[in-house]
Amino acid sequence: MPAVSVEHLSKSYGENLAVRDVSFEVQKGEVFALLGPNGAGKTTCVEILEGFRKRSSGQVETLGVDPADLSTQRWLRSRIGVVLQELAIEPYYSVRQVLTRNAGYYPNPRPVDEVIELTGLAEKADDRVKRLSGGQQRRLDVGLGIIGNPELMFLDEPTTGLDPSGRRETWELIKRLSAEGTTVLLTTHYMDEVEALADRVAVLFGQEIVASGTPASIGGRDVGAVTIRFRLPEGVSADDLPVPATTADDGQAEIRTEEEVRVLHELTGWALAGGHPLSGLSVLRVSLEDVYLGLTKESSAEAAADWSARP
């Protein structure tokens, strides 16, 4: 049984469609990312899965139960952890007080000291929340998400607003939770976050999923064209090369190909035979960001075409 199962989920607010025909599954122990721009419907999806919002149509199961079913909602909430997109912590409590209070809500919480240690807030344990930096408050927020010892964590843009070191620390925490077997569903608009954390990713754009897969293969990333670049040897032009190449703005030769093994073989054979150095030789596969931008551009164009084709 998957930890999360979503089939043909749609949600409207009046006439505004927030999510359209979304389907995906999250397996137990997996880190699954919903990637998309602001307003794509990521938070709406997550809030439906948490049981915070009701869906308009479709089938949804979180840990085997319908999150909208009031009779099992308390049970479900004792087994999930939530980190909201925006910080929400009472300012006057100390770190320890707010964690102790929330630990009391759960049947099987983590020890408060363990969470303080995990979040790197040991030195701030008795400080009031309002005295913490933004990054420290964010870590405490994550601490509140894990205090109930959840089987499934929802992290809604957990590193937004954090400095680079704060982001890395949060990533390490998420990796540690994942290694312990916690299933993680996170939303983000950071590509590097997806690459660092996610086992699988779905791109949500225009209220629907436009692609899904592993970060390494999404959008045909693993089988698509690569770009081979190097500095042209002295006295050699792009036309002299054994394979078709262009000259980039910085003067480097650039070859785009889907047959990188054959092209590299021909190129390096030619260089060795003629004694040509291929300085700065690199093979670049298309980045996740390129794939994401391509997918969202395609979807925008399709949506515009659909709109203009309306009677």
Partner: protein, 269 residues
């Protein structure tokens, strides 16, 4: 991770006595939060105490002719006791509720296993405790410092206070759902509140049948003040039951609005 034994979903959201313990625990944290902001707490509690001292000091020899000639101090003491109820259960509670909603604190609580009713019950009980502290302090000042006596109908006085707590909390929760954002919560709610308590007779008794009384009779504030004064002094020819009824109607209206408009999410209006 949760244990395998907990794999079967447990239906139902009421856990009996343990939930009552959860209410008590949550009230403890509500109180802790209140006292951890000592300036806010001092202003809340101190306002009614400072004002009752000022009003009792300047009214020792005056009487209210249209209320069986009772001493003005006998009027102010229960009136300011009722102010404690109104301030704690309506003004402070509703502003606090809007702020918490807009900060996302209510949403976070909603996503925890704590039942909604536990959260709301704790907020209500916390408001009752703050109101009770103000009432006790005001009464102590009046009894010990100024020789005011009462309540002469203690049971009815307590009933009036309890109905007032229910009514003003319900109205406060209802009104909080109408306030669109945290920035406007304190100005809107405090302005309306302080104008209405002034017009309703907190600072000066308002004669029944006057235009001002007719206007303020619409709202529950004057009814709580009058019912408190009546039961505190056992004023001849008066009865608190009509006032209690009006407060209950307002309380029911507050519950109705709350049920229809309550939202755990920030409105960000």
């Amino acid at each position: 991770m949760t244990t395998a034994a907990a794999d079967t979903p447990i239906k139902g959201s009421f856990r009996g006595l343990s939930d009552l313990g959860l209410v008590a625990r949550q009230v403890g944290y509500e109180q802790l939060s209140f006292w951890l902001n000592p300036i806010g707490a001092a202003l809340t509690i101190g306002f009614s105490v400072v004002f009752i001292i000022i009003f009792l000091s300047t009214s020792r020899h005056s009487t209210v002719n249209f209320l069986a000639h009772i001493n003005l101090g006998q009027y102010y003491l229960p009136a300011f006791a009722s102010y404690g109820v109104m301030a704690a259960c309506f003004n402070i509670m509703s502003i606090n509720l809007v702020n918490r909603r807009e900060m996302g604190l209510l949403k976070r609580l909603r996503l925890s296993p704590v039942p909604e009713w536990v959260v709301l019950a704790a907020i209500f009980v916390n408001a009752m405790i703050i109101a009770a502290i103000q009432i006790v302090l005001v009464l102590l000042v009046g009894w010990l410092g100024y020789g005011v006596t009462g309540p002469h109908e203690a049971g009815l006085f307590v009933l009036v206070v309890l109905v007032g707590m229910f009514s003003f909390t319900a109205v406060g929760v209802g009104v909080s759902t109408l306030v669109p954002n945290a920035d406007s919560a304190a100005p809107i709610l405090s302005l309306v509140f302080f104008i209405l308590i002034a017009l309703s007779g907190l600072y000066f008794p308002v004669k029944a049948g006057s235009g001002l009384a007719t206007f303020t009779d619409i709202f529950p504030i004057r009814h709580l003040i009058l019912a408190s004064v009546d039961t505190f002094n056992n004023v001849p020819g008066t009865s608190p039951w009509n006032d209690i009824l009006v407060m209950l109607v307002w309380g029911a209206a507050g519950v109705w609005v709350s049920l229809r408009r309550w939202d755990w999410s920030p409105k960000r209006g």
